[in-house]
């Protein structure tokens, strides 16, 4: 499996500010995803980070609020913009790659970024 790191691991932010979360993979991967996990809840897919093009967002998530970059096959960032307390969540990136998983679409997750917005 791939080794995935995220920065920061946790942060406490003020309302109205923005935070950029980084996801780094130790090998080139085809697909990268960003998920949100609100307190006590399950994971919800925010978007698919596409290399060299705009991210594909799920219903309920928009680019202005969650801009995503993916400049290459090993790195992606998610920005949480104009934060409010409702954005307090764990944000996780995940990867999927044919070379890692073959025809199984196993997704491997980073350790997550725990965000608290005051």
């Amino acid at each position: 499996s791939a080794v995935i790191s995220q920065k920061p691991s946790r942060d406490i932010c003020q309302r109205g500010t923005s935070l950029t979360i980084q996801c780094q993979v130790d090998s080139q991967v085809t697909m990268m995803f960003w998920y949100r996990q609100q307190p006590g809840q399950s994971l919800t897919l925010i978007a698919t980070a596409n290399q060299g093009s705009e991210a594909t967002y799920e219903s309920g998530f928009v680019i202005d609020k969650f801009p995503i970059s993916r400049p290459n096959l090993t790195f992606s960032t998610l920005t949480v913009s104009n934060m409010s307390p409702e954005d307090s969540s764990i944000y996780l990136c995940s990867v999927e790659d044919f070379l890692l998983a073959g025809f199984n679409n196993e997704q491997f997750f980073g350790p997550g970024t725990r965000l608290t917005v005051l």
Binding site: S1, I4, Q6, T30, M31, Q37, Q41, S42, L43, T44, L45, T48, T56, E58, I90, L92, S94, E96, D97, F98, G102, F103, N104, N105, E106, Q107, F108, F109, G110, P111, G112, R114
Partner: protein, 116 residues
């Protein structure tokens, strides 16, 4: 409707006992995966079972899949305190085209507590 709903929501057992968690889903799937999450950290991939498989084993884990009932179960045998975690099932209903965009839909999870 919620895809991938686990039950029970919480399970407390003694060390050495077996733990069984169930997952139900509503639409056709390509495969179903189980993940573990320790105390709000990242997810650890446990096992994947394809839609044409009925049972799979990995160490102390046993997963079954019943596509006619749209349900899966995860059995952890001889549980240990270190198994204390939240367990999630995730389903994929995408097209199998090798490395393409698969969207995983997660259930709400079962919180397993194994008491020493």
């Amino acid at each position: 409707s919620q895809q991938g709903e686990e039950d029970p929501q919480a399970l407390s057992i003694q060390e050495g006992e077996n733990a069984t968690m169930n997952c139900s889903y509503k639409t056709s799937i390509n495969n179903l995966q189980w993940y573990r999450q320790n105390s709000g950290r990242g997810l650890v991939h446990l096992i994947l079972i394809r839609s044409n498989e009925r049972e799979k084993h990995s160490g102390r884990l046993r997963v079954t899949l019943d596509t006619s009932k749209k349900s899966s179960s995860l059995l952890i045998t001889a549980s240990r305190a270190a198994d204390t975690a939240s367990y999630f099932c995730a389903t994929d209903a995408g097209q199998n085209s090798g490395g393409s965009n698969y969207k995983l839909t997660f259930g709400k999870g079962t919180l397993l507590t194994v008491n020493p």
